[in-house]
């Protein structure tokens, strides 16, 4: 029985030891685990994109006997189609290469015989230019559905699009046609002899419901700086772009029927290489330019110094060059990705990040290429008649080290900038995800808060541990510790809804307080000796001085408030904020960095105070005793003996406070306007990394670029604070070791 009992005890003991050790290890595991888990979400941002051939099919020779005008595919890489010059769409099942259906375009204009060219205008729609110059438009529907068993069924149709229909015309080399919403359509023809003709065909419906059709045509016959080599039109039919064989890039405004205005002409390259292809990037702001040298650049109008409000096309991004002349440029329908090809290769680049995402080398020179409406499959037809469909896996093309931390020239901006604006209401928006304004905001908030908190906390800690009467200390310390427990949401709320409006009413009080409160203190100190003799203050003995200081501080702030009213009237024409704006050009936000400094400072004061006070109190009493015994005053002892010894601990307190301020979320979220701007001004708000996460993550779709960038900022925060906390802990351990022997 006894043996049994001891055995059992021993076994329990060993078991417990193992379990407890595991429990201890679990702390390390969880820290590592946190880092690993959040990094795992952020890392795919930097994974290289990939493309793989989903299917290749030899196009039946019967189809190839005619002239192929276009190819296309759908998002699951199961089906594809080829358009020939009879206006027939041949749908192919990519799984087995069989011809699934051939559908002729439903609307053939009178007198037309065959299709000369097809222009893809987005959203599965093609404009067909017929041999007599007529234009019709069709929409191609191709979808693949996968049943649970894995069989794929293709559905396809070709429907006429009636918003674009132009009658026959002669002498046409190339044509573009665009619908004008609810008003008709516009066609732009390139005629032989380098002429351009813009024809607006507008429909007006009057109150009685009768339609009035007007056709306005205008020819461009101005001399051009070279022969036209590439032409394109934006999707709304407002701007016409052309490139010449002498390397000039031209832009016309064609939005007004009957007029065609040359906005500008500019050389696209230094050595005047012929422009071979033009395409508009999604959103119609930027135009991509390819030339004979294989260069690919994007341009958009920018306010140029000295030209007033005029905006001139400017080269913004230079993307990776092709080797030979750029034969075609295809803009992705989903983002700012550009596919450009010469005869041998296809480059995939992203405009904003200037990243070369992929280089695809087809086996044979490509004659036709097209993206699926979702932009994730690329169909190419090569000279051997092989149709290839590639699945494009490019999850985060807009993210690069450059876009996260560098200046980027975004569409519509006048110069490269650091900017954070993750989303907008429209789909063709260029996301701006620079972390620089956020890191800046974090540093600004932390710095201002520390400037406010560190002196106060350290001085107060020194006083509490060295000069305060022990009895009082036993009361004051818990008060400060309870302060540390005040939830940050409470501080943030008061800062945002109470302090901010209060300071808004009298900003000057803050500045005057900084001067007047110390002045008042100085005065008090000056008269201390004298007033100490006065009867009610006699009791304010050593160790209780701070109580006497409380009314002085309150009085000082009140005095500052009174003075600020006077100063505002006499020095700042009655309104300091107005004066600030009109004289110095500084905008005043109600929730600004002053509020942050006070609120965030208030939040970290108890942390710094408690740790610093512990460190100072832990300096062995015999050092103090020795110093005092040698005749040093209490201040001399504290300043020359105690503080230097406690310095590592004090420093570690400051670091821990710093770490806390960096990551504080609610206060920054509530007490600033959350504006991601780069400005050191005290009167502006800011947006910190942590507040940004809280603001944006509820709206970030799972695994989107934004979601991962937010995780990346969490990783940054983790690493910042890890370094600071580990440093502080190392310091503290050294400090402990140093005095451990006492």
């Amino acid at each position: 029985m006894a043996k049994n009992f001891t055995d059992k005890s021993r076994r329990n003991d060993r078991l417990a030891e193992v379990l407890i050790r595991i429990g201890g290890l679990f702390v390390i595991v969880s820290v590592v685990w946190i880092l690993v888990m959040i990094s795992r979400v952020a890392l795919p941002l930097f994974y290289p994109p990939s493309s793989k051939i989903a299917a290749t099919v030899k196009v039946p020779t019967a189809i190839l006997s005619g002239k192929v005008l276009a190819v296309g595919s759908e998002e699951y890489q199961q089906g594809a189609f080829v358009l020939d010059d009879s206006g027939t769409f041949h749908f192919l099942n990519m799984a087995d290469g069989s011809l699934s259906a051939s559908i002729k375009t439903p609307m053939v204009p009178v007198g037309a015989d065959h299709v000369v060219s097809a222009e893809y205008i987005g959203k599965s729609a093609y404009n067909l230019l017929w041999n007599n110059g007529a234009i019709t438009s069709v929409t191609v529907g191709l979808t693949a559905a996968k049943a649970r068993e894995g069989t794929v069924t293709l559905t396809h149709d070709v429907t006429a699009k009636d918003d674009i229909a132009f009658a026959a015309a002669g002498g046409i080399v190339q044509s573009f046609a665009r619908p004008i919403e609810d008003r008709g359509a516009v066609r732009i023809d390139r005629l032989s002899g380098d002429h351009l003709r813009v024809t607006h065909q507008l429909v007006e419906t009057d109150l009685l419901g009768t339609e009035k059709r007007t056709t306005t045509s205008v020819d461009l016959t101005d001399p051009l700086p070279g022969r036209l080599s590439a032409v394109t039109v934006d999707s709304k039919g407002h701007y016409l772009y052309a490139g010449t064989d002498t390397g000039w890039l031209l832009r016309w405004d064609i939005s007004e029927p009957g007029t065609i205005t040359l906005l500008e002409s500019t050389p696209a390259s230094e050595n005047h290489k012929a422009i071979t292809s033009l395409a508009l990037v999604l959103g119609d702001v930027s135009v991509a330019v390819g030339d004979t040298g294989g260069a690919l650049t994007t341009w958009f109008p920018v306010k140029v110094a000295g030209s007033g409000e005029d905006r001139r096309l400017t080269r913004i991004h230079t993307l990776r060059s092709n080797v030979a002349a750029t034969a075609f440029i295809i803009a992705s329908p989903r983002d700012k990705t550009l596919y450009s090809g010469d005869t041998g290769t296809i480059h995939v680049d992203h405009m904003t990040s200037e990243r070369n995402l992929l280089t695809i080398k087809p086996l044979a020179p490509v004659t036709h290429a097209a993206l699926s409406p979702k932009g994730n499959s690329l169909a190419t037809l090569d000279r051997t008649g092989t149709l290839t469909i590639r699945k494009m896996d490019i999850p985060h093309p807009e993210i690069s080290f450059g876009t996260l931390f560098g200046k980027v020239w975004y569409e519509g901006y006048d110069k490269p900038e650091y900017s954070w604006q993750s989303s907008a209401s429209n789909d063709d928006f260029e996301p701006k995800m620079s972390l620089v304004p956020l890191v800046f905001g974090t540093i600004k908030a932390t710095l201002f808060a520390m400037l406010f908190a560190v002196p106060l906390a350290l001085l107060a800690a020194l006083y509490t541990s060295q000069f305060m009467s022990p009895k009082l200390k036993g009361r004051v310390k818990p008060v400060v510790e309870i302060m540390a427990a005040i939830p940050s949401v409470v501080i943030g709320f008061l800062a945002g809804l109470w302090l901010a409006p209060l300071i808004d009413k009298s900003v000057l009080t803050v500045f005057l307080s900084i001067v007047i409160v110390p002045l008042m203190l100085l005065l008090t100190i000056f008269f201390w000796k004298r007033i100490k003799g006065a009867s009610p203050l006699q009791r304010v003995s050593r160790g209780h001085e701070f109580i006497a200081m409380i009314p002085v501080v309150i009085l000082g702030i009140y005095l500052a408030f009174l003075l600020s009213g006077i100063a505002e009237v006499h020095l700042f024409a009655g309104d300091f904020k107005q004066w600030l704006f009109s004289t110095l050009g500084i905008r005043y936000d109600q929730r600004n960095s002053i509020i942050i400094a006070i609120a965030l400072g208030f939040a970290v004061i108890p942390i710094i105070f408690t740790i610093a006070e512990d460190a100072i109190s832990n300096v062995p009493r015999n050092l103090t005793a020795a110093s005092l015994a040698l005749g040093a005053s209490r201040w001399q002892t504290a300043w020359r003996v105690v503080l230097p010894s406690a310095l590592p601990g004090v420093f570690s307190a400051v670091m821990i406070g710093f770490g806390r301020a960096i990551g504080e979320t609610m206060i920054v979220l509530m007490a600033t306007g959350n504006t991601p701007i780069l400005s050191w001004s005290l009167f502006n708000g800011l947006r910190s990394l942590s507040a940004n996460i809280a603001v944006e993550i509820p709206e970030a779709p799972l695994n989107s670029s934004l979601y991962r960038v937010l995780f990346l900022s969490a990783v940054l925060l983790f690493i910042f604070t890890f370094i600071i906390n580990t440093g502080a802990e190392a310091l503290r351990q050294r400090f402990r070791k140093k005095y451990g022997r006492y």
């Binding site: 390390i28 906390a457 709320f493 701070f546 002085v552 201040w635 960096i662 990551g663 979320t665 906390n725």
Partner: protein, 531 residues
């Protein structure tokens, strides 16, 4: 004097001043919250102003200040009647006022919608009941007592309806699962369940009609009110939550009204997108989340502390654990939120959903924020608090006690469970309370992993299995942020935010004071001074 400077006395005063500033700031914070929070429920009198332009205004004075534009004194009046005047507050310049009075018969109606109504009661239209009381005000009170039974009925019906709703929803989910597993195979079961569900739905519809009828019946009784501008309005009894005539209330009546409002605050549901009514779901959510969190963080924290203090030898490993503990304490709370979202919600939650609830996808069950994930996230965040407190209390137990126990033949584990842990209990309690206080006030991570502004159901109710870990919940701290910063009418919501803040602050301050008191008592119990 020279000596005074030389000995550095002024610097001592300067350091004292720093402490004074800190204390002044803390007192200001507490004072602001208290004055704004405590005063909100006190029935304030309705003041009637006659203005120079001949118009009148009736309301409660909320603020007085100097007009920043004209420099004149002005006062802010809460005029209520949002549906009539369009806004709750207006500023009145003092020089515009020709007369002010406190009409004894001014009535304050707290309404279910559109905020308070300030005005005068003209009469009561009674249908289906006979009112015997004299004045209209007494009649209205009598009418309210007469229909209170019916009001209670509607409340009961509403509860039944929500239970039915829950059952029907469960049935729907079961049906969904059966259909997912194979419609043909489970045809019989599906038919049966569908029949049951339809019966429940029919019952639900019946109850709903019953409730609508009762409410319509009560609704026919209206209070005929006129506002100060002369407009009249009939307000039905169903709309009225509470009524009072603050101008003719005695001190004790006011106290009673105050206590009633406090009761409402603690036990009722919020109204008007959280800006009025009670805080019960938020208090409940906070408490339940904190308790759930302690279940996870306490054992983990205590074991880690025991490891550090009793089992680990001083070495690299201990140093690493200590660094880890410090980092757990120092990593920004929002990072925990992000981790919780990535790991608990989408990671574990997503996996649970695909394994156990594939039929419900893409609607997530556990793959979205909820009280379980919030508790786990906060447990991780507060573990260091428990560790530090437990370790400190273990460290303060004199070595002799351990040695004594071991010398008597007890194993290390026996010493731990029989001697050390009981002695360290106050310290562990300190850690627990501190961690609870921290969790109660933490908002940033919760915003990501499961808190909502308005939860339709509590995470705990009388429906099996009672604890609904997948549900989202409300939280006092988030309530402050949401009502104070996200509500459309911040000015009208402010008092509510102050009250919530005061409540949260009180909870946190009381909890931490208790913890600190416990800790200090334990410290002094074991500390033996050497100097």
């Amino acid at each position: 004097m020279k000596l005074f400077w030389k000995t550095g006395e002024p610097y001592v005063l300067a350091t004292g001043a720093a402490l004074a500033i800190i204390l002044v700031m803390s007192l200001t914070l507490i004072g602001t919250v208290m004055t704004n929070g405590l005063g909100y429920f006190w029935p304030r009198e309705l003041v009637q102003f006659e203005l120079k332009d001949g118009s009148k205004a009736l309301g409660q004075i909320t603020q007085q200040e100097k007009n920043p534009l004209s420099g004149e004194q002005r006062l802010q009046l809460k005029v209520g009647n949002r549906d009539v005047f369009g806004q709750d507050f207006r500023w009145i310049d003092e020089k515009e006022i020709t007369a002010r009075s406190i009409p004894a018969d001014a009535v304050l109606l707290e309404r279910r919608e559109h905020g308070n109504y300030f005005g005068f009661l003209q009469g009561v239209t009674a249908e289906g009941i006979t009112l015997t009381a004299g004045t209209p005000y007494e009649k209205l009170i009598q009418a309210r007592t007469l229909v209170s039974g019916k009001m209670n009925d509607t409340r009961k019906i509403r509860k039944q309806m929500s239970d039915l709703n829950y059952t029907a929803e469960n049935l729907r989910l079961k049906l969904q699962k059966l259909e997912y597993d194979g419609t043909e195979k489970n045809a019989a079961a599906i038919a049966e369940l569908t029949a049951v569900r339809e019966k429940k739905m029919a019952e639900f519809t019946r109850l709903n009609e019953q409730m609508t009828a009762t409410l319509a019946e009560i609704g026919r009784i209206t209070a005929q009110m006129t506002d100060v501008a002369g407009g009249s309005k009939d307000i039905s009894l169903t709309e009225i939550v509470a009524l009072q005539r603050p101008n003719s209330m005695s001190f004790f009546a006011k106290c009673a009204a105050y206590l009633e409002r406090v009761r409402e605050l603690l036990l009722d549901d919020p109204r008007e997108s959280n800006t009025e009514g009670g805080l019960f779901p938020a208090i409940f959510g906070t408490v339940m989340m904190v308790l759930l969190m302690s279940v996870f963080s306490l054992p983990f924290g205590v074991i880690a502390a025991i490891y550090l203090r009793e089992y680990a030898r001083d070495g690299l490993m201990t140093r690493m654990v200590r660094i880890a503990v410090n980092n757990l304490a120092g990593v920004p709370s929002i990072v925990y939120g992000v981790f919780g979202l990535g790991f608990f919600v989408y990671g574990i939650g997503g996996t649970v959903d695909t394994l156990f609830f594939p039929e419900r996808l893409p609607t997530p069950t556990f793959g979205t924020g909820g009280i379980l994930w919030s508790s786990l996230t906060l447990a991780l965040l507060t573990v260091p608090v428990v560790i530090v407190a437990t370790e400190e209390s273990l460290a303060s137990i004199p070595k002799g006690i351990r040695e004594g126990s071991l010398a008597l033949g007890a194993t290390k584990f026996q010493t731990l469970t029989k001697i050390l842990l009981p002695m360290a209990t106050p310290g562990i309690m300190t850690g627990l309370i501190l961690s609870m206080a921290r969790a109660a006030g933490e908002v940033a991570p919760l915003m990501i992993v499961g808190v909502v502004k308005l939860a339709p159901t509590l995470p705990f109710d009388t429906n099996f299995p009672f604890f609904h870990m997948d549900r989202k919940f409300m939280h006092l701290g988030f309530h402050i942020y949401d009502v104070g910063f996200q509500s459309p009418n911040v000015e009208a919501a402010k008092p509510m935010v102050y009250v919530t803040t005061m409540l949260l602050l009180a909870i946190v301050v009381i909890a931490s004071s208790t913890a600190i008191y416990l800790r200090n008592r334990m410290r002094s119990k074991y500390t033996t001074s050497t100097f």
